[in-house]
């Protein structure tokens, strides 16, 4: 296992020279530089890069420092802008306690998928643009007083799609958690299975759920956190089988995409369809937790779920 502690560079917190020259100071130091958080695809329309971020929902300009301190949640409308896996981990774990697993695992184009663009070139592009190896980061961490397995997906890598690497890394994490008798937290965000890997990607659904079956059988807690968006193959596997299912406000969560549903049924979709709030009303989600409270709530839940645990685990299969 590779042990990783966070450095500013890994988190993308190091100073990056903006692509656009600052209109304020003609590249004068101080103004032109900004602290930029990890690779993000947040849209910044018509704004000079540097000091302000425009909320993706209400359009209010938010001072970057405040935006970052608020974990990219708009302080005015509470819109939860997507954040990357590393930022999320940083926001959840105790400093320097995240021991990353399988950091060097990368996808292989075993089908030699030839679409419009080859899978191989896609992978290279995304590795370059996101600084990630694939769409999930896994490891063992400490959260409050709890040691726990933590897997966090990143939507910016190929839409958070689940291929062999996502499936394998999560399965190893789950197996490690079972072996070490640790609770497990998976923060999901995904468009679904990665079709470039064909049936291998579908099988990751069965693989991760099989590992979770033995984790559950050992009476170890698993908390699934759904963030925007979590759909399709990921929603139809590990994301849906938590002892607790939590969600971020406003997250889009579902099985089929809204366009597919509309095309198939020719019906108007109800307001708020497939949002976290909609699904809480319909009984799927235990609680909707704002991003800034997530860590404290997870610690609180783990406190309940690890009380007086009956230890009668079956030996895990090899």
């Amino acid at each position: 296992m590779a042990t990783t502690s966070f450095t500013k560079k890994m988190l993308g917190l190091h100073t990056v020279k903006p692509d656009v020259p600052s209109p304020l100071g003609n590249g004068k130091p101080g103004f032109a530089k900004k602290l930029k958080l990890a690779p993000s695809k947040s849209k910044r329309k018509d704004i000079p890069e540097g000091l302000w971020t425009k909320c993706g929902k209400c359009g209010t300009m938010v001072f970057d420092k405040e935006w970052d301190e608020n974990l990219k949640v708009c302080p005015y409308c509470q819109y939860h802008s997507p954040i990357g896996a590393r930022e999320r981990i940083h926001s959840l774990v105790e400093t320097c306690t995240f021991e990353e697993m399988d950091a060097g695992m990368t996808s292989v184009d075993m089908l030699e998928f030839t679409g419009v663009a080859s899978y191989k070139s896609k992978l290279e592009d995304y590795q370059k643009s996101t600084g990630l190896k694939d769409a999930v980061v896994t490891g063992i961490c400490r959260m409050g007083e709890h040691r726990a397995g933590l897997g966090v997906m990143d939507f910016s890598f190929l839409g958070g799609s689940m291929g062999s690497v996502v499936g394998e890394k999560l399965t190893r994490l789950i197996e490690r958690a079972t072996e070490k008798e640790l609770p497990l937290i998976i923060v999901s965000t995904s468009g679904g299975a990665r079709m470039y890997e064909g049936m291998f990607s579908l099988m990751q659904m069965a693989k991760t759920c099989a590992a979770l079956a033995y984790h559950a059988k050992a009476r170890l807690p698993y908390i699934s956190v759904l963030t925007h968006p979590t759909t399709a193959g990921v929603m139809a596997s590990y994301a849906s089988v938590g002892d607790l299912i939590l969600a971020e406000p406003g997250a889009m969560i579902g099985f089929a995409g809204p366009r597919v549903i509309k095309d198939t049924t020719q019906a108007e979709l109800p307001p708020g369809f497939q949002t976290a709030e909609f699904l809480l009303d319909r009984g799927l989600i235990d609680a909707i937790i704002p991003r800034k409270e997530l860590k404290s709530r997870l610690i609180e839940y783990l406190g309940f779920l690890t009380v007086g645990r009956v230890r009668a685990p079956l030996p895990a299969p090899e």
């Binding site: 590779a2 042990t3 693989k207 399709a232 089929a256």
Partner: protein
Amino acid sequence: MRHQLDFEKPIAELQAKLDELKKHPDTHSLGISFEEEVATIARKLEETKRQVFSNLTPWDKIKIARHPKRPFTLDYIQSAFTGFSELHGDRLFAEDRAIVGGFACLGPHKVIVIGTQKGRDTKENIMRNFGSAHPEGYRKALRLMKLADKFGLPIITLVDTAGAYPGIGAEERHIAEAIAVNLREMTLLEVPVIAAVIGEGGSGGALGIGVADRVLILENAYYSVISPEGCAAILWKDRAAAPKAAEALKITARHLLELGLVDEVIPEPLGGAHTDQETTIRALQQCLLKHLDALVRIPVAERLRQRYAKFRAFGHYHEEEAALAGNKSIQPQVKT
């Protein structure tokens, strides 16, 4: 001929010629006898069939897999099994007729058989929702599987669905959760489980009843993470590119066997299952029996271990040397 596939045209023409000749024996060509001409055409027909069917593209096979005259789940249940006694409902919300299930006998074995069921005509298709189940279908399937597990009955599932139903009600009642729970629970079933893809193996909707000790597939069936049309729409921005997507996704029975994703391909009669239902049903029956006979002999713990290992092994990835070396030591380095 209704439901004729484009590549079946030369076969159909020869067949029509042969039928015509047999109907009017005196119309045979000059110079050769009636019997000789029949034999010649029959030989040519056989050759053409062989030629056409050995050169099918993945897209052709998908057309066969979706053929409305192909045997469906209930055809197999009625002919390959005996004494089918259907059980209904998920005990939560409704009876979903897109998935059928119940008691049946397969040879000497009393089993629970479950499968997605398509309809043959519009009326039946409306009742069966075109073989696309709602959450209730998956929850009924799980209820029956738990019943089987409790009372020691092996489980056979027959998969033939374009996918789980993408509808408003399905989302409101959490179809993703229904499938996910099945994936988890099927891992722990202590009875033997065999899944056979008999037509369409459409994504999560197929896998939702597809976690098994043995996964079998008929020669012209397919099993895919996404429909070729859906994949084409996303990657090629054009549903008409489905034949290309079908090729790229490697979803035919032969491809899946080569990739190690299925355990056995069950051959269909020349011309496809839709031209000879009886032979196809016998072939599936024999294959199911063979595997079930083998599976019941394996002790429970070993069978569970094998089932886990089977799904555990799926996937291809690359690991950096350093990471590999690091992985061997479970103890993480302690940061000071």
